[in-house]
Amino acid sequence: MTIPLKQIDAYRWEIPRTGKMRVPGLIFTDREMLEDIQQDQGPTQVANVATLPGIIKHSMAMPDMHWGYGFPIGGVAAFDLDEGVVSPGGVGYDINCGCRLMRTELTADRVQPNIEKLVTALFGSIPSGVGSSGSIRLNQKEQKAVLVKGARWAVERSMGTEDDLMRTEDYGRMEGADPGVVSDRALVRGRDQLGTLGSGNHFIEVAVTEEIYDETAARAFGLFTGGVVVFIHSGSRGLGYQICDDFLKVLGKVAAREGIEIPDRQLACAPLKSREGRDYLAGMACAANYAWANRQIMMHWTREVFLRVFEASPAALKMSLVYDVCHNIAKIERHEVDGKTRDICVHRKGATRSLPAGHPLVGEVYRSIGQPILIPGDMGTGSYVLVGTEGALKETFGSTCHGAGRVLSRTAAVKAARGRSIRNELLGRGIFVMTGGRDSLAEEMPDAYKDVDRVVEVVHGAGLSRKVARTRPLGVIKG
């Protein structure tokens, strides 16, 4: 099915309201990427989301959008608390999949000659790959404490500092988490995966800040040209997948009971004010907290590896968290809608929060600058640090893109990589990569992704966030 798209300006295309759509669709992209977008079912999925009850203004998609299941990846939609719904398909299986960035005082000339040693040490210290399990084994009581406390649980066990929490979205803890709604299956899957990277597109990347676009913001974020930084990209692991899976089944029945017509079973949803809807949010918050604890623990181990490899003191290394964002989540947030301030439920599936300076949800550390936004690119190109804007608050309920976005399917990527050594190609560009999975290098190779520079140009040009810095990878661990 071809979805009609009407160009509004250089960065915006509208899907006019037709059929059962309650609001129009709005896709942020440019003309060149639009061709890729139209190749798959992403636009249909934007239109499908627009049919859900209580949706406000637009069903939106960011420039890194692609075909997902239920919502498109890169999808953003907000719902009225009385009339609207919450959908696990608008969050995804990997609840609070997200990204954190650390800065150091080290410069690239010191790190580059040691990159093999550093990446090998990281690979040895942080479990990665399929079904990876870690050195932390949780009994049920401790696990429930993780689900309620989030990153604070790790900090209380000396795996981080109060300052880390101040630099994490929602301070690393989502309110309303209720372990009572989490199934035994989810608890079983989560008990030995805390502090593990996982597989697929999850990674730890050592990079160097190559270009600065906004000196003031970069200084506030602790970034300088030539400085070495570390990205950690992971989520809530098997626990989150299971919570999503459990609730999809439950909410599918609620949608039928409530007479909510859904164009795709994966859009199973429940009214926000129903018990099942509230239970999903309480379970989702548990997974979000698990993910924040997970990234906090991996960051702690990363810090230890750096101290060891560079034989430096913490004071000399000044390795601190810049920020941690989640990009798969649904949140009750206060926004202005049609001139009135009200609470709504914003779904971000493969989209990042983008809040401007002065916003009450931006932690005090960055209140005068705006919220840092982390956009990991593919492992051969580069990543971006952006800052939140008023434009996002006005137009996208404070949301922007989350990454480069896939353009090749995984099977197509493996096919395209046949006969090539992706590892050596990356080495040729000065990037040392270690990986656990057999096919993950091929599946995740740079050609499989959209051009992150273009994606970021769109959100910058459309005013959904502003460029602060661009980094170039030096070494990567792939799950």
Binding site: D40, G42, H66, W67, G68, Y69, G70, I73, Y93, D94, G129, V130, G131, R185, V188, R189, G198, S199, G200, G238, Y241, Q242, C244, D245, L248, K249, G252, K253, A256, D264, R265, Q266, A268, R406, V407, L408, S409, R410, T411, A412, G437, R438, D439
Partner: protein, 138 residues
């Protein structure tokens, strides 16, 4: 050779299976799941377990069956390579599944399936054949 094939999907894994009977379709779907996960050839039959699933219609039942089997691996570390369907109705399935626990030195996880999705789920009958397509989130 397992009779399933990959269909295109940008982010995830979309497969299509085919069989002569509805029961056969459930067997082929299960075989595909374990073949993608660990290579079904590597799974020896050392024990049997009963796996049960339910759904409101054949489509939901198909997904639920695969979800149950996936949990046998992700939650309990079991791999299966033989599936004997004992009961199959519009809304229920009970099967005896043969396999063995995952052992790191003998098995290799080829691909981590995070979940079996309902997206684009289709069960159709084409002449003498039953066909299903399903998307695995990976």
């Amino acid at each position: 050779m397992t009779p399933y094939r990959f269909l295109d999907h940008t982010a995830d894994l979309r497969i299509e299976v085919e069989a002569d009977t509805l029961a056969g379709l459930f067997v082929e779907g299960a075989a595909a799941l374990f073949d993608i996960t660990a290579g079904i050839e590597s799974v020896r039959i050392r024990e049997f377990r009963e796996v049960r699933a339910s759904g409101d219609d054949a489509g939901e039942l198909f997904v639920d069956w695969l979800r149950e089997l996936l949990y046998c691996f992700t939650g309990e570390g079991m791999l299966f390579s033989r599936f004997e369907i004992m009961v199959l109705s519009e809304t229920e399935i009970l099967a005896r599944c043969g396999g063995e626990p995952f052992i790191g030195r003998r098995h290799e996880v080829k691909c981590e399936i995070k979940a079996v999705t309902y997206h684009g789920l289709e069960i159709t009958r084409c002449g003498e054949k039953f066909r299903a397509s399903v998307v695995f989130d990976i």
